[in-house]
Symmetry: C2
Subunit: 185 residues, 2 copies
DNA sequence: CCGCTTGGGTCAGTATCATTGACGCATCGG
DNA sequence: CCGATGCGTCAATGATACTGACCCAAGCGG
């Protein structure tokens, strides 16, 4: 329990490489292993805050993801959501169904294709998403602010590069087009 | 919640003068939601490659983490490993025990404290870790190379900033002292 | 109108990773 | 010798994910 990091953990006299010309040194094995560590610790703590809230509500990370992506793309189809999450129908169903029943998400038949069930957050769902977001916001803001704008841009570039084809497609679907199915708040 | 983000940032060598007004744009809500997306997709694909290999061997991500951190710190104690992974003894035991039985990891009693069981990778364990690493290496290398050294440095700064206290301590324990306090090797 | 495809839901069974709480054992240190 | 520590372990539980099969309703081409 005692996190004994006694001294100020912010001194930066790192034995930082890339002193002279920024060569390809950053591709050395040690640097890549460092990336593994950073991703592990960073991602874990990034999700930790929201997880605490979710536990109180008897939900898990999967619920958060649904809230997040439905909030990001109101009126998204189940199929598109499945594509983004890259999980099976069953896995989504187990999470989505209770969320509909509990009034976090609504399903409305598609206009042009009535087989579709377009997903949207209810007021209640949006409120919870908001709450979860605020929690993560603190974490990200702190990291962003300490690192500075240049670092943030670099962070984004690297993270984008980590994505494979499928994720890149999903990502661009998300960030890109304001889409067609209407419903742009 | 610590409201003092200021204390340590005074010590950090800023890379840019940072004129407040327009540079804070990257802290807008949309930018922060983008970060959520990036972390989700990026982390998922970062782990995806290794996961494929692990499945073939009937292992999971937890096994990989053990291989990774034991490989990073040969002779690590069970307690320290638990601290790094931030899981319970049971969770670790369920994974570690078979790995010892299957000859991926060895346990040797500590010299100064014989209660300890220092963990080390066997040849077989190191080989598997190597294989998993090579897989992730490709992913990271591509992302790093495309993004460039400046971006990589930024990526690191942001990821470090995402870590909480506990993770920061664990991280510095990992990256920091190779061997100092006399006791260990 | 008739099939076939597609969007979506569901049943049943299984695996991994994680949890809590309690107990056992050997060793360390005063 | 006694209490604290390092480690292992039992039992029960829960969240997330998977596979494969099967069903319904709606779209769509012929």
């Amino acid at each position: 329990m005692p996190a004994k990091i006694s001294a100020q953990s912010a001194e930066v006299p790192e034995r930082s490489p890339l002193p002279a010309g920024r060569n390809l040194l950053f591709l050395r094995e040690e640097e890549l292993r460092l990336a593994q560590d950073l991703l592990f610790f960073g991602y874990r703590d990034f999700t930790a805050g929201a997880d605490e809230i979710l536990v109180e509500l008897g939900m898990g990370r999967a619920h958060h993801r649904v809230l997040h992506f439905v909030g990001r793309r109101p009126g998204i189809t189940v199929g598109d959501l499945l594509g983004i999450l890259a999980i099976t129908k069953q896995s989504l169903g187990r999470v989505l169904q209770p969320m509909v029943e509990d009034g976090y998400v609504t399903q409305t038949p598609g206009r042009s294709d009535r087989r579709q069930r377009l997903l949207t957050l209810t007021e209640k769902g949006a409120a919870l998403e908001r709450r979860l977001f605020e929690r993560q916001r603190e974490t990200i803001m702190r990291a962003y602010r300490e690192a500075g704008p240049v670092a943030v841009e670099g962070f984004r570039r690297v993270m984008r590069g980590l994505m494979g084809e499928q994720a890149t497609a999903a990502f661009e679907l998300l960030e890109g087009p304001a889409a067609e199915p209407g419903t742009s708040r």
